[in-house]
Protein backbone atom coordinates (compact mmCIF):
# COMPACT_ATOMS: atom_id res chain seq x y z
CA UNK A 1 0.00 0.00 0.00
CA UNK A 2 1.24 3.43 -0.87
CA UNK A 3 0.75 6.76 0.81
CA UNK A 4 -0.07 10.14 -0.71
CA UNK A 5 2.89 11.64 -2.55
CA UNK A 6 2.79 15.39 -2.08
CA UNK A 7 5.33 16.13 -4.82
CA UNK A 8 3.30 14.17 -7.34
CA UNK A 9 0.19 16.04 -6.34
CA UNK A 10 1.92 19.42 -6.74
CA UNK A 11 3.21 18.45 -10.19
CA UNK A 12 -0.27 17.36 -11.29
CA UNK A 13 -1.69 20.70 -10.14
CA UNK A 14 1.02 22.71 -11.92
CA UNK A 15 0.60 20.85 -15.19
CA UNK A 16 -3.19 21.13 -15.00
CA UNK A 17 -2.97 24.93 -14.68
CA UNK A 18 -0.51 25.05 -17.59
CA UNK A 19 -2.89 23.02 -19.76
CA UNK A 20 -5.96 25.10 -18.89
CA UNK A 21 -4.07 28.34 -19.54
CA UNK A 22 -2.77 27.25 -22.94
CA UNK A 23 -5.72 25.14 -24.17
CA UNK A 24 -8.76 26.15 -22.09
CA UNK A 25 -10.98 23.87 -19.98
CA UNK A 26 -11.78 21.63 -22.90
CA UNK A 27 -8.07 21.15 -23.49
CA UNK A 28 -7.75 19.44 -20.12
CA UNK A 29 -8.22 15.70 -20.26
CA UNK A 30 -7.03 13.35 -17.56
CA UNK A 31 -5.07 11.42 -20.21
CA UNK A 32 -3.11 14.42 -21.42
CA UNK A 33 -2.61 15.58 -17.86
CA UNK A 34 -1.26 12.18 -16.81
CA UNK A 35 1.18 12.26 -19.69
CA UNK A 36 2.34 15.81 -18.93
CA UNK A 37 2.85 15.06 -15.25
CA UNK A 38 4.42 11.65 -15.97
CA UNK A 39 1.93 9.79 -13.79
CA UNK A 40 -0.81 7.30 -14.61
CA UNK A 41 -4.43 8.29 -15.12
CA UNK A 42 -5.23 6.16 -12.08
CA UNK A 43 -2.87 8.22 -9.93
CA UNK A 44 -4.71 11.43 -10.81
CA UNK A 45 -7.99 9.89 -9.66
CA UNK A 46 -6.42 9.05 -6.33
CA UNK A 47 -6.11 12.76 -5.61
CA UNK A 48 -9.12 14.10 -7.49
CA UNK A 49 -12.66 12.75 -7.69
CA UNK A 50 -13.21 13.88 -11.27
CA UNK A 51 -12.34 16.69 -13.68
CA UNK A 52 -14.67 19.16 -11.97
CA UNK A 53 -13.21 18.35 -8.57
CA UNK A 54 -9.73 18.94 -9.98
CA UNK A 55 -10.69 22.35 -11.38
CA UNK A 56 -12.45 23.34 -8.14
CA UNK A 57 -9.45 22.30 -6.04
CA UNK A 58 -7.08 24.24 -8.32
CA UNK A 59 -9.22 27.34 -8.00
CA UNK A 60 -9.51 27.04 -4.22
CA UNK A 61 -5.76 26.64 -3.81
CA UNK A 62 -4.80 29.45 -6.17
CA UNK A 63 -7.37 31.72 -4.56
CA UNK A 64 -5.85 31.05 -1.17
CA UNK A 65 -2.33 31.79 -2.44
CA UNK A 66 -3.59 35.02 -3.97
CA UNK A 67 -5.37 35.93 -0.74
CA UNK A 68 -2.24 35.47 1.36
CA UNK A 69 -0.10 37.45 -1.13
CA UNK A 70 -2.63 40.28 -1.33
CA UNK A 71 -3.03 40.72 2.41
CA UNK A 72 0.70 41.09 3.23
CA UNK A 73 1.21 44.34 5.22
CA UNK A 74 -2.33 45.39 4.37
CA UNK A 75 -4.31 47.24 7.02
CA UNK A 76 -8.03 47.36 6.10
CA UNK A 77 -8.53 50.11 8.68
CA UNK A 78 -5.75 52.29 7.24
CA UNK A 79 -6.10 55.35 5.03
CA UNK A 80 -7.60 54.56 1.62
CA UNK A 81 -4.67 55.99 -0.35
CA UNK A 82 -2.12 53.93 1.55
CA UNK A 83 -4.25 50.79 1.50
CA UNK A 84 -4.80 50.97 -2.24
CA UNK A 85 -1.08 51.43 -2.82
CA UNK A 86 -0.35 48.30 -0.76
CA UNK A 87 -3.03 46.42 -2.70
CA UNK A 88 -1.57 47.51 -6.03
CA UNK A 89 1.97 46.55 -5.09
CA UNK A 90 0.92 43.20 -3.61
CA UNK A 91 -1.23 42.30 -6.61
CA UNK A 92 1.46 43.44 -9.02
CA UNK A 93 4.07 41.32 -7.27
CA UNK A 94 1.74 38.32 -7.24
CA UNK A 95 0.92 38.64 -10.95
CA UNK A 96 4.54 39.05 -11.98
CA UNK A 97 5.67 36.09 -9.87
CA UNK A 98 2.73 33.88 -10.90
CA UNK A 99 1.73 34.85 -14.46
CA UNK A 100 0.15 31.45 -15.13
CA UNK A 101 -1.88 31.59 -11.97
CA UNK A 102 -3.07 35.10 -12.82
CA UNK A 103 -4.29 33.99 -16.26
CA UNK A 104 -5.90 30.90 -14.75
CA UNK A 105 -7.79 32.97 -12.17
CA UNK A 106 -8.99 35.31 -14.91
CA UNK A 107 -10.35 32.33 -16.87
CA UNK A 108 -12.07 31.09 -13.72
CA UNK A 109 -13.50 34.40 -12.63
CA UNK A 110 -16.74 33.99 -14.56
CA UNK A 111 -16.78 30.22 -15.02
CA UNK A 112 -19.92 28.28 -14.06
CA UNK A 113 -17.66 25.34 -13.18
CA UNK A 114 -16.58 26.99 -9.96
CA UNK A 115 -18.48 27.03 -6.71
CA UNK A 116 -17.38 30.25 -5.06
CA UNK A 117 -19.30 29.69 -1.84
CA UNK A 118 -16.50 27.44 -0.58
CA UNK A 119 -13.67 29.90 -1.17
CA UNK A 120 -11.61 31.70 1.43
CA UNK A 121 -13.54 34.60 3.01
CA UNK A 122 -10.48 36.46 4.35
CA UNK A 123 -9.81 38.33 1.12
CA UNK A 124 -13.39 39.45 0.52
CA UNK A 125 -13.90 40.34 4.19
CA UNK A 126 -10.72 42.45 4.31
CA UNK A 127 -11.52 44.29 1.08
CA UNK A 128 -15.11 44.95 2.20
CA UNK A 129 -13.95 46.37 5.53
CA UNK A 130 -11.33 48.49 3.75
CA UNK A 131 -13.87 50.07 1.40
CA UNK A 132 -16.55 50.64 4.04
CA UNK A 133 -14.06 52.22 6.46
CA UNK A 134 -12.76 54.53 3.71
CA UNK A 135 -16.28 55.60 2.74
CA UNK A 136 -17.23 56.30 6.38
CA UNK A 137 -14.12 58.50 6.77
CA UNK A 138 -14.92 60.33 3.54
CA UNK A 139 -11.75 59.08 1.82
CA UNK A 140 -13.68 57.33 -0.95
CA UNK A 141 -16.92 57.98 -2.82
CA UNK A 142 -19.61 55.31 -2.49
CA UNK A 143 -20.01 53.42 -5.78
CA UNK A 144 -21.59 50.20 -7.02
CA UNK A 145 -18.91 47.55 -6.49
CA UNK A 146 -18.47 46.84 -10.22
CA UNK A 147 -17.71 50.49 -10.90
CA UNK A 148 -15.45 50.76 -7.87
CA UNK A 149 -13.46 47.69 -8.96
CA UNK A 150 -13.24 48.84 -12.58
CA UNK A 151 -11.76 52.15 -11.54
CA UNK A 152 -9.65 50.95 -8.59
CA UNK A 153 -8.10 47.78 -10.03
CA UNK A 154 -8.79 47.27 -13.73
CA UNK A 155 -6.14 49.90 -14.74
CA UNK A 156 -3.51 47.97 -12.80
CA UNK A 157 -4.44 44.63 -14.37
CA UNK A 158 -4.44 46.15 -17.85
CA UNK A 159 -0.94 47.54 -17.37
CA UNK A 160 0.18 44.15 -16.04
CA UNK A 161 -1.22 42.51 -19.17
CA UNK A 162 0.68 44.94 -21.39
CA UNK A 163 3.82 44.25 -19.37
CA UNK A 164 3.52 40.45 -19.37
CA UNK A 165 2.68 40.19 -23.06
CA UNK A 166 5.50 42.64 -23.87
CA UNK A 167 3.27 44.48 -26.33
CA UNK A 168 0.74 47.28 -26.09
CA UNK A 169 -0.66 49.39 -28.95
CA UNK A 170 0.20 48.67 -32.60
CA UNK A 171 3.44 50.38 -33.58
CA UNK A 172 4.52 50.93 -29.98
CA UNK A 173 7.73 49.47 -28.52
CA UNK A 174 7.39 46.73 -25.88
CA UNK A 175 5.81 48.09 -22.71
CA UNK A 176 7.77 47.73 -19.50
CA UNK A 177 5.93 48.63 -16.31
CA UNK A 178 7.99 50.48 -13.68
CA UNK A 179 7.27 52.14 -10.36
CA UNK A 180 7.03 55.64 -11.87
CA UNK A 181 4.22 54.50 -14.17
CA UNK A 182 2.54 52.68 -11.29
CA UNK A 183 2.59 55.83 -9.16
CA UNK A 184 1.36 57.96 -12.05
CA UNK A 185 -1.58 55.65 -12.75
CA UNK A 186 -2.38 55.16 -9.08
CA UNK A 187 -2.56 58.93 -8.49
CA UNK A 188 -5.06 59.24 -11.36
CA UNK A 189 -7.14 56.43 -9.91
CA UNK A 190 -7.10 58.01 -6.45
CA UNK A 191 -8.15 61.35 -7.93
CA UNK A 192 -11.12 59.67 -9.60
CA UNK A 193 -12.22 57.98 -6.40
CA UNK A 194 -11.94 61.00 -4.09
CA UNK A 195 -15.13 62.65 -2.81
Amino acid sequence: MRTRDVNKEILIREKAIEMIVSHGFDGLSMHKLAKAAAVSVATIYIYFKDREDLIQQLYTEEFEKMTLATLVNFNPEGHFDEGLKVQWMNRLKYCLENPLSMTFMEQMKHSPLIDRSVTDRRFIDAMTRFVHTAISRNELIPLPIEIYWSVAFAPLYQLVKFHISGTSMPGRPPFILDEVQIDQTLSLVLKALKP
Partner: protein, 78 residues
Amino acid sequence: MQTQFQENKHVLVFKTNLHHRDMKKIEPVLNAETKIIRWNVDLTDIDNVLRIESHVPHTDHVIAILTSEGFLCEELID
Protein backbone atom coordinates in the same frame (compact mmCIF):
# COMPACT_ATOMS: atom_id res chain seq x y z
CA MET B 1 -5.37 0.65 -8.99
CA GLN B 2 -5.88 0.80 -5.26
CA THR B 3 -4.29 3.09 -2.75
CA GLN B 4 -4.71 3.23 0.99
CA PHE B 5 -4.68 6.67 2.59
CA GLN B 6 -5.75 5.68 6.02
CA GLU B 7 -6.76 2.51 7.72
CA ASN B 8 -9.75 0.86 6.07
CA LYS B 9 -9.99 3.28 3.18
CA HIS B 10 -8.98 2.27 -0.33
CA VAL B 11 -9.39 4.17 -3.56
CA LEU B 12 -10.19 1.92 -6.52
CA VAL B 13 -10.06 3.29 -10.05
CA PHE B 14 -11.69 1.64 -13.09
CA LYS B 15 -12.05 2.44 -16.76
CA THR B 16 -15.66 1.85 -17.85
CA ASN B 17 -18.13 2.48 -20.65
CA LEU B 18 -20.70 4.01 -18.29
CA HIS B 19 -22.67 7.00 -19.55
CA HIS B 20 -25.25 9.37 -18.12
CA ARG B 21 -28.09 7.10 -19.15
CA ASP B 22 -26.56 4.18 -17.19
CA MET B 23 -26.41 5.96 -13.84
CA LYS B 24 -29.98 5.00 -12.88
CA LYS B 25 -29.13 1.35 -13.43
CA ILE B 26 -25.89 1.18 -11.46
CA GLU B 27 -26.80 3.58 -8.65
CA PRO B 28 -28.87 1.09 -6.61
CA VAL B 29 -26.36 -1.67 -7.30
CA LEU B 30 -23.33 0.24 -6.05
CA ASN B 31 -25.24 1.94 -3.22
CA ALA B 32 -26.22 -1.49 -1.94
CA GLU B 33 -22.58 -2.46 -1.45
CA THR B 34 -21.98 -1.92 2.25
CA LYS B 35 -18.19 -1.94 1.88
CA ILE B 36 -18.30 1.05 -0.47
CA ILE B 37 -17.98 4.40 1.32
CA ARG B 38 -18.64 6.54 -1.76
CA TRP B 39 -18.35 6.31 -5.51
CA ASN B 40 -18.59 8.50 -8.58
CA VAL B 41 -18.18 8.29 -12.34
CA ASP B 42 -16.26 11.02 -14.18
CA LEU B 43 -18.54 11.42 -17.18
CA THR B 44 -16.61 14.44 -18.43
CA ASP B 45 -13.52 12.45 -19.34
CA ILE B 46 -12.93 9.88 -22.07
CA ASP B 47 -12.18 6.93 -19.78
CA ASN B 48 -15.49 7.31 -17.92
CA VAL B 49 -13.62 6.48 -14.77
CA LEU B 50 -15.46 4.84 -11.93
CA ARG B 51 -13.82 5.90 -8.68
CA ILE B 52 -14.65 4.03 -5.53
CA GLU B 53 -13.65 4.72 -1.94
CA SER B 54 -14.05 1.50 -0.07
CA HIS B 55 -13.32 -0.19 3.23
CA VAL B 56 -11.80 -3.13 1.33
CA PRO B 57 -9.72 -3.47 -1.87
CA HIS B 58 -12.38 -5.66 -3.54
CA THR B 59 -11.38 -4.85 -7.12
CA ASP B 60 -12.44 -8.17 -8.64
CA HIS B 61 -15.80 -7.99 -6.91
CA VAL B 62 -16.52 -4.54 -8.40
CA ILE B 63 -15.52 -5.73 -11.88
CA ALA B 64 -17.82 -8.74 -11.47
CA ILE B 65 -20.77 -6.54 -10.47
CA LEU B 66 -20.37 -4.13 -13.37
CA THR B 67 -19.78 -6.93 -15.85
CA SER B 68 -22.91 -8.78 -14.71
CA GLU B 69 -24.88 -5.56 -15.30
CA GLY B 70 -23.55 -5.62 -18.85
CA PHE B 71 -20.89 -2.95 -18.60
CA LEU B 72 -17.24 -2.87 -19.44
CA CYS B 73 -15.10 -2.39 -16.36
CA GLU B 74 -11.38 -2.82 -16.02
CA GLU B 75 -8.99 -1.74 -13.33
CA LEU B 76 -6.77 1.18 -14.26
CA ILE B 77 -3.27 0.13 -13.42
CA ASP B 78 -0.79 2.58 -11.95
